[in-house]
């Protein structure tokens, strides 16, 4: 493990700057193929509307993956993530245009644990709504 963030240099309350992640229909098609989740609500607008959704919505796991990317980019090593959990609190609606939607992720070090581990609390927003709640990652620092 080679986390680039040092435990001794991080304090509780340390803020990790927000990053914007774009999500367009193409991303959802790629994610469907890579993950094997072909639920039509993630790519078929006609179907999404027949089941009462406003439009196509992103896979929750796509949003969770952006939160994961935020954490691994901060800590410097994907292998440093020892626990990562979220609740999906609202949907990310992805319109069929060139802009799609934007997921904004930010984080704060919430707690320092033993063995050089910290808890990072994540905030993820799209269209002014919180799309993840109870989003926490435990990471192993250097």
């Amino acid at each position: 493990m080679t986390a680039t963030v040092k435990y001794d240099e991080v304090e509780v309350g340390h803020e990790i700057p927000a990053v914007d992640y774009s999500v367009r229909r193409l991303n959802l098609v790629m994610y469907a193929g890579a993950s094997g989740d072909f639920n039509q609500i993630h790519w078929n607008e006609r179907f999404a509307k027949t089941v009462g959704l406003p439009d196509v919505i992103a896979h929750g796991m796509y949003t969770m993956a952006q939160g994961g990317r935020f954490v691994t980019d901060w800590v410097g090593d994907p292998g440093a993530v020892v626990d990562y959990g979220v609740r999906f609190s609202s949907m990310v609606v992805v319109p069929d245009d060139d802009n799609g939607a934007t997921i904004t992720v930010s984080g704060v070090v919430e707690e320092k644990l033993e063995d050089k581990r910290v808890v990072v609390a994540l905030t993820a927003k799209a269209n002014d709504a919180r799309v993840l709640s109870k989003a926490r990652a435990v990471v192993q620092l250097a």
């Binding site: 890579a34 094997g36 969770m64 993956a65 994961g68 020892v82 959990g85 999906f88």
Partner: protein, 149 residues
């Protein structure tokens, strides 16, 4: 329609192992838009102290529900897939997932409950290597919208 509570406690173990490939990890990383070389380049992964390319933290979603999926598709459970959205997800890692891992998943339906008009179902999946080494534990809660109405 309410989900069949008799399914709580049932465990489903994958019939064959899932072999984690470099190609699949690369495809998954591309799909989530993550350009980290540790997901693509064996040398970069080794330089970072890993035996091979590492899978992104959410990668186990690709295979961890395959065995449990059998239960969710059972007509006796009464799940309407068209109304399913993801409620909660958690990954607990004992070690990272690497290319070359051959993994076995054992999924247990741990809870089925109503929340308002919705039905919530939670699956815990224990992922080990074929040799029995624990790798990760995943917790997946799905929501059937209107299922309890």
């Amino acid at each position: 329609m309410a989900l069949n509570r008799d399914f709580v406690g049932r465990t489903y173990t994958s019939k064959s192992s899932y072999e984690v490939s470099r190609v699949k990890i690369r495809e998954f990383a591309a799909a989530i838009g993550d350009g980290n070389p540790i997901y693509r380049d064996q040398e970069a992964a080794k330089a970072a102290g890993h035996p091979d390319v590492v899978a992104p933290p959410t990668f186990p979603i690709v295979f961890s529900l395959q065995s449990g999926g059998e239960a969710l598709a059972d007509p006796d459970l009464g799940l309407n897939f068209a109304m399913v959205v993801h409620g909660e997800q958690r990954f607990e890692y004992l070690r990272p997932v690497y290319a070359g891992d051959e993994l076995i998943t054992s999924s247990t339906i741990t809870d089925i409950r109503s929340a308002g008009r919705n039905e919530l179902l939670t699956v815990r999946s224990d992922v080990t290597t074929v040799a029995g080494e624990p790798v990760c534990v995943t917790y997946n809660t799905i929501v059937e919208r209107g299922g309890a109405a």
